[in-house]
Symmetry: D2
Subunit: 334 residues, 4 copies
């Protein structure tokens, strides 16, 4: 079998993970990597990537490259997507595609016209646990879906400098839950009501963000959802979901580094949760790239695309407006 020839743009924390996962795939040849940082380029060379360059353009001008994996900063995504599409290269792009709804709408247009596939890095859909819940819902195990509950709490807040450019909680963190909600329910969101508070760190509030939130969604199919978030859970990365319907409920709890229990005179004890997304979703990162490659090979749709990014972003925008105006906001307003 001919290997799919892939280039990677950006070798930061998440780019390094994708590079390793690509190299581990027998049917992929990662033939070029690009990063302005010399240390990142050294990493790529050590991995055995044959061509390692500083700027992005050699990737788009290389006629051998069939697909690109974009892990560069968010403000470069649009330009990279535009050039890759012009070069006829399929695209895997990390989230968020862009900070504005308008740009993402334009991206949908560009990739549609260029007839290239674009997969967006909503990695949680590829987690074996959450994916199993989706397949249970599709199989009718819970009947008609009535109530969705998602708990998503980080072990600690990101730096304020990140928060200042990230779009805030609803666009850098809850956006994963918005995508998960659409994925699990299989229907579109009609309206959003959000409550946001600053409870963890006043500096987060000073940066214009919130750190503690509840967001309700109503779906076109009648399902209602409640999501709760915190920037700081003392006990680790808390990722749970339950979907309740006419026939029953399906639930996913948390994962731990190891599953031991100690019983002593103080009680019964288990270890804290896995620390954060790189550990919790390690296998999901592997699966999303495998599925991207498989979709290209099979000439099929990618499992999560620019439209999904658009919808999650719109929900995030609606959540912010809801907090600011203290009222439910219809998605059609965005």
């Amino acid at each position: 079998m001919e290997q799919l020839k892939v280039g990677i743009i950006g070798l930061g924390r998440i780019g390094k993970i994708h590079a390793k996962n690509l190299i581990a795939l027998a049917d992929v040849a990662l033939i070029m990597a690009s990063d302005p940082d010399p240390q990142a380029r050294d990493f790529a060379t050590a991995l055995g990537i044959p061509a390692v360059v500083e700027g992005f353009d050699p990737i788009f001008s290389n006629p051998d490259i069939e697909a690109v994996v974009i892990c560069s900063p968010t403000d470069t995504h649009f330009e990279c997507i535009e050039k890759a599409a012009a070069a006829g290269q399929h695209i895997f792009c990390e989230k968020p595609l862009d900070m504005t709804v308008e740009a993402i709408e334009k991206i949908v247009e560009i990739v549609t016209e260029a007839k290239v596939k674009l997969q967006v890095g909503f990695n949680r859909r590829f987690d074996v646990h959450f994916a199993r819940i989706r397949s249970l819902v599709e199989a009718g195990a819970v009947g008609e879906t009535h109530i969705l509950k998602i708990t998503s709490r980080d072990p600690g807040p990101p730096p304020i400098s990140y928060i200042e450019r990230s779009g805030g909680l609803f666009l850098d963190m809850t956006i994963h839950d918005f995508d998960m909600a659409r994925f699990i329910v299989g229907s579109e969101v009609k309206e959003v009501f959000a409550i946001g508070r600053v409870r963890v760190d006043q500096a987060i509030g000073a940066a214009g963000d919130v750190d503690t939130a509840i967001v309700n969604l109503t779906f076109e199919d009648g399902t209602i959802a409640t999501i709760d978030n915190s920037r700081k859970a003392s006990y680790g990365y808390d990722q749970r979901l339950e979907i309740f319907g006419s026939k029953g409920m399906a639930h996913i709890g948390n994962q731990q580094a190891d599953s031991h229990t100690v019983y002593n005179a103080d009680g019964i004890h288990q270890p804290v949760l896995l620390d954060f997304f790189l550990e919790r979703y390690e296998q999901a990162y592997q699966r999303e790239i495998q599925d991207f490659v498989a979709a290209i090979r099979a000439g099929k749709s990618v499992p999560v695309d620019a439209h999904d990014a658009l919808m999650a972003t719109k929900i995030g925008m609606a959540a912010w407006r809801s907090v600011k105006e203290n009222r439910p906001v219809a998605l059609s307003e965005i």
Copy 2:
């Protein structure tokens, strides 16, 4: 020790439970029972209650009776409370005290002036599991409270005839969760946002009620809460709560009739949840009456009073207005 002399009014389903629990208390003498139904009076006689009457007035005119337990229909509560207070009798009254905020405000006045204690039957506060969560919160185990989550789902809907007179989901069912929320957080509710849907049975909608709901509460101390309800959970009576704060989280799960697990080729299986409130809260009913008697004996405040009933009712009213106007409703509007 002198026994406390008690009379009971109304021997329907819940009255029978209270009668049995009173008789089991060594420091109580249940000396009179009243019910218009001859079968209920036969039940009382068989229990060994010395005086069993048809109308309510003999209870209030009996100078030996120190306390009354009111389990008659809701529309008789106000009159019974008024008469008991006039007779200087302490009062345990089943929920709801009354269907209107005005009447409950009047009740607060009446019992305050008469200097009698009035305890309202919010039984869940006396459940050992939920009470433990409250004591953990008070002890600071979760730090400052940030997010409260309550799931409360019934195994099946009540008759439509009940729904027509009950005040609907937020006043007959969620009202318990509203009281629980105030109890656990220890702060007052400022604002309510509710989403209600008819998903279980269209007849419920035709009766003007909803059967599936999410309610958000914001508290004066900054805590935010989300409650989800359904009239029908296929797997039994689902009663869970978690409180999340700066130091961690405390959680209570469900109870089962027995805790066996079967492992077979189809998977790992446990039995459904306890069917409903009489089983799930059997011991809570015992403890609430014990605590009522103990408060009278000790001359102390009852653990849950008419003010608590008033606040829970106001939250329920606000939830209904929120659903009808699709906006957050401040408690001060009620």
Copy 3:
């Protein structure tokens, strides 16, 4: 319905529990109690038992008494049973019936000839959890039974003075597990191999007993079992059982006073187990007396009888011989 007239002999810790449980039964009249200790007699009077006597004989000579509950010291059991049987009274007797196999065999004879029922106080059979496992086995949920595992560990050792008269670990503690094993498997034990160690307290060894043990049983139907015991589990009263067979496994875990979980930076925590048998088997004590009364009323066999006591005692004797001779001991040797 005519009430069954019952007398109770011995009002120590367990006698008090039985007395209260008898009084709570509507179809029982506890008409006489006997205890040499004045404080115990005061307790009986306060409970409202009409006749309270010092010696045992007035119980047996009272022609109204249809059944006796014997909770006096073990060395009085034989005489009490003999006299009750002579009086035609049905008998509930606490375990152990007697310390010797010969006496228990004689008891089997006596009650058979007198045609009175004798139920022995193996309370755990009446625990809703263990009873459920038995009914699952009977219903074929695990198929043919292959392996039984019982863990039974006390929260702390009894006084040395108790151990000196109790027959030791296998006869005062494991005897419950031997009865449970026969109950769950539904077959007779053929052979016993036991390992006993002194690990908790050297004084226990000095008294001729062991405090830590593993006992294997082989059953006539081919099932094999392993039981492990300790006199001291730091985390509470540990009572678990699993039965494994051709179709799967059924399992019962422990019970806690309340089922809360706390998550914090140190991990995930639950409270210790229920402290000891009076709490853990509170409802089992109620059910065993109910079932005794029901068997008498229905003229049916009692659920656990002198033969069961005999077999459990023989297994205990075999376990001791196995430890002393370090070899498997056939039950037929006892």
Copy 4:
């Protein structure tokens, strides 16, 4: 860093796993593979192993090879170890090292004299869950160890042809539990008592083996252990362990492919356990090879060596003698 040059002998099911895990290590060069089967050699070539040969000798005569991984049939282990030791190559050898105690004793001698390291493939020690229990015991979390319980049940029996050459249950399956018991307790076994039955398949009995067993171990430090085994657990690969001591208990339960729970009218359901050792111990296989390589690089002892293989084999032999003679067998008898 210079890569460690490794050769692999035998590319059956487990050899393929080791080959892949070796290739994934950045500090290892897998430079030669040997297998008599042409398909296995094609697999090796496809993996990119530079030299792929039919016979074993080219591995031992290759002066570049610093370490060998032996995955060939058991009856070739001795010869391979002898030749590798003569060549000064460090050795990782799959279990069992050999079928006789004498040969393993000879192996201990050979590798000691040749001053090469020999690690044996007791993969379970490298499972993160079991390793965590060992570190808890070492840290004193359970105090003095009193009782060890291991449950180890396979999802289905191996072919009869395998059983005929494997040494039977105690040497092909329980041997892992014997090694685990020594690893967790950190003391040597003194005596073994075993009960073996044929309950799963009469053909297993006809082949001279048992399929259902309980084995008790007594340790020099006073700890006692009970292990239960079955060749066929309908619900998957059951691998549990608990260690109980003066301060408490540490426990490891099972792992599932995904951790979802479904609640419906029939009860609460989770999926079956991971099917078998290749899935359950996938990461343990990776870690054992990493630790082997790390021990060579650091010039330190390997974590599990020929002496460990010898002891586990002796315990297995004692278990067989115990079953045949129905008595406890001292390890010193073997």
